[in-house]
Symmetry: C2
Subunit: 536 residues, 2 copies
Amino acid sequence: MSGIDRRTLLGAAVSVGASVGFASGVKAQMAPGQTRADVSSFMAEMQSIVGEEWAFWSEQALVPYDKSYIPDPSGLLHPVGAVAPRTVEEVQEIVRAANRHHQPLWPISTGKNMGYGSAVPATPGQVVLDLKRMNRILEVDVDLGTCLIEPGVTYQQLKTYLEDNNIPLWIDVPTVGPIASPVGNTLERGVGYTPYGEHFMFQCGMEVILPDGRLMRTGMGSIEGSTAWQAFKWGYGPYVDGLFTQSNFGVVTKMGLWLMPQPPAYKPFMIRHANMDDVPKIIEAMRPLRVSSLIANCNLMMSASYQLSMFNRRNSVVADGMPLDDESVKRAARANGLGMWNTYFALYGTEEVVAAIEPIVRGALTASGGEVLTEHEMGDNPWFHHHATLMKGGLNLDEIGMVRWRGNGGGLAWFAPVAAAKGAEAERQTRLAREILDKYGFDYTAAYAIGWRDLHHIIALLFDKSDAEEEARADACYREMVTRFGQQGWASYRTGVNTMDLVSQQYGQVNRDFNATIKQALDPNHILAPGKSGIA
Amino acid sequence: MSGIDRRTLLGAAVSVGASVGFASGVKAQMAPGQTRADVSSFMAEMQSIVGEEWAFWSEQALVPYDKSYIPDPSGLLHPVGAVAPRTVEEVQEIVRAANRHHQPLWPISTGKNMGYGSAVPATPGQVVLDLKRMNRILEVDVDLGTCLIEPGVTYQQLKTYLEDNNIPLWIDVPTVGPIASPVGNTLERGVGYTPYGEHFMFQCGMEVILPDGRLMRTGMGSIEGSTAWQAFKWGYGPYVDGLFTQSNFGVVTKMGLWLMPQPPAYKPFMIRHANMDDVPKIIEAMRPLRVSSLIANCNLMMSASYQLSMFNRRNSVVADGMPLDDESVKRAARANGLGMWNTYFALYGTEEVVAAIEPIVRGALTASGGEVLTEHEMGDNPWFHHHATLMKGGLNLDEIGMVRWRGNGGGLAWFAPVAAAKGAEAERQTRLAREILDKYGFDYTAAYAIGWRDLHHIIALLFDKSDAEEEARADACYREMVTRFGQQGWASYRTGVNTMDLVSQQYGQVNRDFNATIKQALDPNHILAPGKSGIA
């Protein structure tokens, strides 16, 4: 595959007008102590490992690795090279070479960490270790409902494989599922829409290349002849899989995942609430249903503005330059069959089980003031269809439309603070978020999700990245949200590459020191992803 | 509480005839490089921290810490002291003093790790760090179904607290629940009987004293003002809670747990199969029900001999010295309403949900050749009652009776190899286990459990510990089972303190080195629990 083909592939998801990030004329900074010559020497060695066509360090060849949706007004975040191995042995060789050259590496699976930085490294001077060529589905166990895959496998690829082989197992997809990697998303502790939506919970076993090049298998994976690598999560002794999530302690080259058996019956619901201040009531009604597992999937409460941003331009709702007032949003929402809050969940099981649960759920959510809607009422409404697809492990790219809400610049940064699943928390959070977003002139395009007992507030900070002033404003807005939410006890579960240090500081010095101690022990040359999650 | 009271308390669970372990005349070995004077000096400092009455190092005062059910023919495993702090600050002082004195500490919660070593350290010369006085229930959130507790809290205490306060939340208990610690059991990755039976999965947030005395809170616990410490497991950056399970990297002083909301309906089942070789069929029938979560709790397939050992002496089934033949077992089982395999699970939900699932389950298990039995048929059968109690979070000590199966010596070692939940695995495992047990003259008193996709074979090696020859034979038998099962790819998920190194070797040198690297980084003086899970 030529450089052009690869760029087209990577760029296909969104066609944005302006060039972003790696603007012409910008020279990428080197890592501390490295010169351009050092990088060239390292990259030449990379070519000897992976072949000439899979190691890049010209500005042009790096463009596909350099496009992110998050604000980076400093313009400092650029990779200085990229290398795409095909085998585990090549990964080991690359890691060993990086130690010799003191060249930091930024591993990506498919690099679609959209709204969190995509493929862009957290600090300047890193070489992207692109694992997309390692894309084998190594095993699917139909009876156990498990698979073993490589990092370059996409959700689309896994779904197609299951369908082609008539395997009645579902995948669980995050936003932008088709082009994203199950391994990458799980390592970021991403979430999806089915009862298997807490991806890290349903991960089972890893193969990891340690920073010194050794290969380690976790769980039961190191036992020769074991049938349980994908069946039993914990293994023996300290459970270490968590160490390799949201971190820079190793390169994950294989991962086991649990797949949900396709249930005989599936019924998606949408609950429509009329007013912005209804969300605490929804959460109070929903929590007992989630905690008791009567509703088994992570449920999403989508604000009307978030919903509208998926399929609309902002100026179809209010005129350019005007604030996004609730009345205009309500009008546009109503025209599209939406409420001010739209809550999605589904029931899974046999027909009889679904029928047994439905009245309880209807009762509780009607009492909260919601209209309980199903396919019967919503038909092919695109928002209902979107969620009905995702909640059964289906794929679509609808949400990518959000980045065009305010212009063609493709600006999106997710802010995702965590609280307990209590209505009072949401009331205070929504107020604070709107205050800060208003101050900076951005819209409250947000959702809430109840995982099991946690409440995630998922705020899409949408901006026009082709406008430098707006990009700087978005950056300041995001940082103020992180800081002021943190002061209230609401810290993020995940953040973009340019705010990782800021968020990790909120988790305190002891935790930072602990991570630093582990890092120093495993990676004394700090060659793996320095800056990831605030770990140098 | 005086020393006498404490000993009585610790000894109350089982009254065994012979003194075990710390036999009179045996002198406990010191840790490498330590003298008895060093220990005395350390213990004097302990007294200054916790008060005179809570630091012990006389042989008599240590007896309660020295009683275990596992074989230890070498007689080497004894603590040299014990210290029982009441506060987190005392734990920090103790750990810092241990670093100064190079005195290893063996932390226990309540020390009831029955059949795995109880309170006994894995290597000679350690001082037991007994956390039982730290026994506060710090918080129960009724709406979220969560609690925050200290290590000395017992399952009985937590259950009583919930009942006394009319809180409709269940606990999930392991064997010997009343006297065991939820924190201790979760740290050992123990399992129970309800849908929350995978205890580590339902743990959320820890407070840990690191080996250098620093206090760290995991997950959201380090965020000031967070409401989510017990609500959201992962926090930000590497997820580290797993590091503190089955390990010696820190002393856990607080733990969050999720508690299951009491369901409106609960229906326990027992499936009776007539023949020893039925177990693969049961597993094949059960796996799809478990993988699909139609059956939501960890189900147990109990062999007749395991069942009989709970409430009977061996010589009520066969004469002393005779092998435990299948015909005799079958006869005794039948007389007690039992089959050769007895499979327990329950349905949970509303009446309607239970009614919707029951026919499916009945159909599948009847087709496997089982008789499907409920309270209607089983009434107050003690075995049915035992499991019906446990599967709704109830407490009992019935299983302690097992240690008297072969005599008064109280010998029990659990062997628990892991496989995928497939019938063919069980067929091979049962054959191998019986071959080895027969060779050493022990009985196949065993169960299988399907967690979710994993199959645990739970073999109770029952012996008379008052008979030195039998103890040595049990030790050899256990080691041969570990070794030969390991050669087939079946490694243990947990083991006794005297076989931790043996099991950890099966997980390979890379994994051992990885753990050693973490250990060295966090605990350079190796003062926390050397030998735990094979980590020095």
